[in-house]
């Protein structure tokens, strides 16, 4: 008997499909209310640092170099107040097998799929994670399907996403491309159900644990070289797994570094809009993912996300598209490193933040990503122009996402603006109450304090003010 494949019927089977494809019963970590046992989920379903190091070192992942960006630091000092200009370092994650830090996340997810006996893996992503899963699946001899949101209704594809499709196919994966819309999830579920493959979600404890080695390595490499931890570790933030995994790894190493998130400002653009899809020049690392996922992590493709960035964020900096493009060109011209662009969001914020800090302080930008046709500042800016976006020099503070891209007319105009982290914490608490519609228990309040890196008093005051 053939199954009902209508949208409503498939979505109704979602819990069963997710359970069969996740290799993990999330219900055992639930309290029945807002709270769930995050740390137990990470402990039971994740891996120890030593296990991850072994898995990754056998599969072309990890131990990437940290490069000091002496010329960019010197440039920051030229325009910073006297005595300011922290040393900027970058962790060259493009050196991983698939060309980005996402190889870490895929390595543990695909390892788990193989261990549990799945024949293949499916992942829904338009980003570097697709290539990462494809690369690891190739190593383990597993089949791989990548489902991408790629085209608008004119059939025009974002060049960066088209390049990622090429890379996935080059690594032996099957790529299914869709037009704009959240119903991608429906197609994703039909493929999971049809194939019985593993859901290599970005948000499982397996995947996020894979990033812990990134933070751990930063601490170890820094201590070996300088005898201390970096003052600041800067992570580009979208879905939150990059920052969460890195921060957890730093904590496991006992590092006290400040954790700073960075996103590109795409405010005003709707992520599910057909006509706005190709008016943005960043497909990840932007506020369109960063804000909703930080303030409500459980909107992902698993019941409980392992990526919970507000637990770790000390500060959240927002930069503009034009500033990231400028810094990407500066990185190539002054440091001889052609990377990004999306991964250079945190570099851009670091360049601004360095000018606030003393010269003996250090900032580690925790990723780079590979670049190439489509996925490079030149095709991105060229594509923006072709889609009616004005590209010009000026003051980036005047940039309006979807309307123009303003390249700073001088590097002193590159500024990182603080997002209101306290408002984000309140927003998470409000979202939790709205989603669960329960009177919070004492355990819920303690959970929300951990979720927001705040205190029981803060949570109680916030609830009282709602």
């Amino acid at each position: 008997m053939s199954k009902d494949m209508s949208y409503a019927a498939v979505m109704a089977r979602r819990p069963e499909i997710m359970k069969n494809s996740a290799g993990l019963d999330f219900s055992k970590f639930e309290s029945g209310s807002i709270a769930f046992d995050y740390e137990r989920m990470m402990k039971e379903a994740g891996f120890t640092i030593e296990e991850i190091q072994k898995i990754q070192s056998e599969h072309g992942v990890g131990n990437t170099p940290i490069i000091e960006l002496r010329n960019l630091t010197a440039l920051a000092r030229k325009i910073a107040p006297e005595g300011k200009g922290a040393r900027i370092f970058i962790k060259d994650e493009a050196a991983n097998a698939s060309g980005s830090f996402k190889a870490r996340r895929a390595s543990t997810a695909v390892y788990q799929a193989k261990k549990l006996g799945y024949k293949g893996v499916v992942t829904a992503t338009s980003g570097n994670y697709g290539a990462a899963v494809a690369s690891q699946a190739a190593m383990y001899g597993l089949k791989c399907i990548v489902v991408q949101e790629c085209y608008d209704s004119r059939g025009v594809g974002q060049p960066e996403i088209i390049e990622k499709a090429r890379k996935c196919e080059a690594l032996g994966a099957e790529v299914v491309q869709l037009s704009v819309g959240p119903e991608l999830f429906y197609t994703f579920l039909t493929i999971l159900e049809e194939t019985g493959y593993f859901n290599a979600s970005l948000y499982t404890p397996f995947a996020v644990a894979g990033v812990e080695t990134l933070g751990y390595e930063i601490a170890m490499q820094f201590r070996e070289k300088f005898g201390k931890d970096p003052d600041v570790v800067m992570a580009t933030n979208a879905g939150g797994g990059n920052l969460t995994g890195t921060a957890r790894g730093l904590k496991k190493a006992g590092a006290q570094s400040q954790i700073v998130a960075a996103s590109v400002d795409l405010s005003g653009l709707h992520m599910a809009s057909d006509t706005q899809f190709n008016r943005k020049s960043f497909t990840t690392g932007h506020t369109g993912f960063g804000m909703p996922f930080s303030t409500w992590p459980d909107r992902s493709d698993v019941p409980r996300s392992a990526a919970r960035p507000l637990r770790y964020i000390d500060r959240y900096l927002i930069v503009h598209q034009g500033e990231v493009f400028y810094m990407t060109e500066a990185l190539a011209s002054l440091e001889g490193l052609e990377k990004g662009p999306a991964g250079n969001t945190s570099l851009t914020a670091a360049f601004a933040l360095a000018q606030e800090l003393d010269q003996d302080q250090t900032i580690v930008v925790q990723e780079t990503e590979y670049t190439g046709a489509g996925k490079h500042i030149q095709p991105q800016l060229s594509f923006a122009r072709a889609n009616g976006i004005e590209v010009k020099f000026g003051d980036p503070k005047d940039e309006i996402p979807g309307k123009n891209i303003i390249l700073p007319s001088h590097p002193s105009l590159i500024k990182a603006n603080d997002a209101d982290v306290i408002a984000m914490r309140k927003s998470l608490i409000r979202n939790a109450l709205n989603n669960y519609k329960v009177t919070p228990t004492e355990a819920d309040i303690e959970f929300l304090a951990a979720e927001t890196n705040s205190s029981v008093e803060f949570v109680k005051e916030t609830i009282a003010s709602l």
Binding site: V176, E183, T187, A330
Partner: protein, 101 residues
Amino acid sequence: MVKKGEWVLIHRNVLEPAERVPHVPDDTKKVPLELWTKGYLQEDANIGDEVTVLTRTKRLEKGTLLEVNPCYKHDFGNFVPELLKISEQVKEILFGGADNE
């Protein structure tokens, strides 16, 4: 005529506009959810025919035949002179112009 066994690109609509979920923006609601995928053609056909393909993971997918041996068309785009200007500017600020000759 495209022969059975050729590597092809197909397209189909997954959801028609009326089937889009209520919470998508209005512009997205006006258009179908479309899908493109590639595979080995399962029967001789012409471009524009409804066909079945066998994908890399041995799944059967149906859709309209669009292309044979589809190639990648993305590139580095048109030259963006502003990038050259940024390169000159950062070098000038850091190393100086004439002094560095």
